[in-house]
Amino acid sequence: MTNAPIMTPETIVNVSLALLLLGLPLVAQTMGEPFYITLATRIAILALAAVGLNIALGLGGLVSFGHAAFFGLGGYAAGILATHAFDGVPLFAGIPGTASMPIIWLVAVLVCGMIALPIGAISLRTAGVYFIMITLAFAQMIYYFAVSWPAYGGEDGLSIYVRNEFPGVNTAQPLSYFLICYAVLMLALGLFWLLRGSRFGASLQAARQNATRLSAVGIAPFNIRLVAFAISAMVTGLAGALFADLNKFVSPSMLSWHMSGELIVLIILGGKGRLFGPVAGAMLYVLFEFALGGITERWQFFLGLILLGVVLFARGGLLGLLAGKARHG
């Protein structure tokens, strides 16, 4: 499978979405409305988390209902390292905490990868609804652990008192922090694009469509899926670390099944398996949430109606509407 030629409708939509997300905070900056930069940062980070899930779900057909686990683990990696750095107390065995984002990201990604491998290895023995539910079960285990584990705040969560540092950038400035998140999002989209076009991506999609045939040509679907699941978890974990720094706070609610559900919602809203689906989905979802929340305290009722409308009448999500049917998958 080759990637689409340069200027298909989908490419135009993708470029427009990327520019729109970049433009919003720049306009907000000149108008002196820093809150909209924060909102755009939130969109970028949720989109990043959903790009991670989209690797498993969109390419591999692995509907994980437990990706909040990785989102939260990434968040806790940032929170725990920052707390130890702030208090000057070593983590364990004399290893200090750190406030450096690159190191935190590395730790978040490695932790998520290491935890995703055993979870994936067990979960991938199942399929279909069983897979959906066993990933949920693992996420619930981690959720309950975090709620009742006293060392890092339990249900009260963990505050990050000063946003972590990135070499050469003042992360306390909303626009600078947005640009970091935006750059990471673009890199992750690049990774998704590369994966989709690669032999690995082709095998992954083949495993989704016909696992038996893939085994027949000597490729084990299990291994391919496991690697995809781990990469997916690592990207979502990275998003979690960024989210913790955005809110300067991490708590078990990042690990809750609602969060897993929201990540799935983002992907379907935008268009499953599409490169920019998660970006479109995150933009729509955050804007709905923000705009409705400002209008009425019954906002969740109307959010539900809108989501229902999208599922029933706008198949293929926003990208399906804007750029037509997916050309693959």
Partner: protein, 306 residues
């Protein structure tokens, strides 16, 4: 720790299991026949509880409330089946998850709109108050015993319905071959609506029965929903027998875990730490059990479908 206490805790586990079965039976039936994941099943449970509480408050009778809960949940089920769910049967699980997730938001806020923000009152009926003696000197609450009884009746009723009646024959046919049954001239749309309403009524019944024990409030369906999913996955999706055994397993494991784990840990580590750590382990226990079962039997204990 006396034998009577142990026996009482086992009964508590069994009773929790029966409640879960009422939830899980509808869920697994709907999945088995229509292939639909229904996250809004917990909302139907909530509707049952609210209907029972509201009607019982208005009429003064728990029993009329109970009947109302069945009617309200079945009606709500039929309405969403006809307006929304019907369009989802041939979609993938992903669309079903999103649509029924949206239904949860709508039902939760809609209920709060109708009934206000404060929890409602519902108590067990006078007929079922009090306790019965247990062997070994303990006693057990009559109402909880009655719930176990309801569970047994529902389990038997479902067995008879599915194996002995015309409707059951169609349900079984629908499970094994959806196209064939339509080709044979069975009105598949009505069948689906009936099955969905039946599942909804069971959830409403569970909600009403539990409503007398717990807090009747918005959001009460979500923890029950997650547990019901654990149950049907352990039991094997689509299998009523699996749902029954899965429910009892989850109920007993959860209750005994909460009861025994802190005590067991206290033998090894100081009591001050054993309490919280034991409680933390107990809350993770059923998910650990579920992961273990699926690791060795990827389609649950009694899978009906390959």
């Amino acid at each position: 720790m006396s034998i009577a206490l142990l026996l009482e805790q086992l009964l508590n586990g069994l009773q929790l299991g029966v409640m879960l079965f009422l939830m899980a039976a509808g869920l697994t039936l709907i999945f088995g026949v229509m292939g639909l994941i229904n996250l809004a099943h917990g909302s139907l449970y909530m509707i049952g509880a609210f209907a029972c509480a509201a009607v019982a408050a208005a009429t003064g009778s728990f029993w009329i409330g109970l009947a109302a809960s069945l009617v309200a949940a079945a009606a709500a089920g039929a309405i969403i089946e006809v307006t929304v769910i019907r369009r989802l049967y041939d979609r993938d699980h992903l669309d079903q998850v999103l649509a029924t997730f949206a239904l949860i938001l709508i039902f939760s806020e809609g209920t709060r709109w109708l009934f206000g923000s404060f929890p409602l009152y519902l108590d067990i009926p006078p007929l079922l108050q009090g306790a019965v003696p247990l062997p070994g000197g303990g006693q057990y609450q009559l109402y909880r015993l009655a719930i176990i009884g309801v569970g047994v009746v529902v389990a038997l009723g479902l067995y008879v319905l599915i194996s002995r009646t015309r409707l059951g024959m169609r349900i079984r046919a629908g499970e094994s071959d959806r196209e064939m049954i339509a080709a044979l001239g069975v009105d598949i749309r009505t069948l689906y609506t009936v099955v969905f309403a039946l599942g909804a009524a069971l959830a409403g019944l569970a909600g009403a029965l539990v409503g007398a024990l717990q807090s009747v409030q918005v959001g009460m369906g979500e923890p029950a929903l997650i547990l019901a999913f654990v149950v049907i996955v352990i039991g094997g999706i689509g299998s009523i027998k699996g749902a029954l055994l899965g429910a009892i397993l989850v109920g007993v494991v959860d209750t005994m875990g909460r009861f025994l784990l802190p005590k067991a840990l206290a033998l090894m580590i100081p009591a001050a730490q054993a309490g919280p750590i034991g409680a933390a382990l107990a809350s993770m226990l059923i998910y650990i059990v579920m992961a273990l079962i699926l690791a060795f039997r990827p389609s649950g204990l009694f899978a009906t479908q390959s």
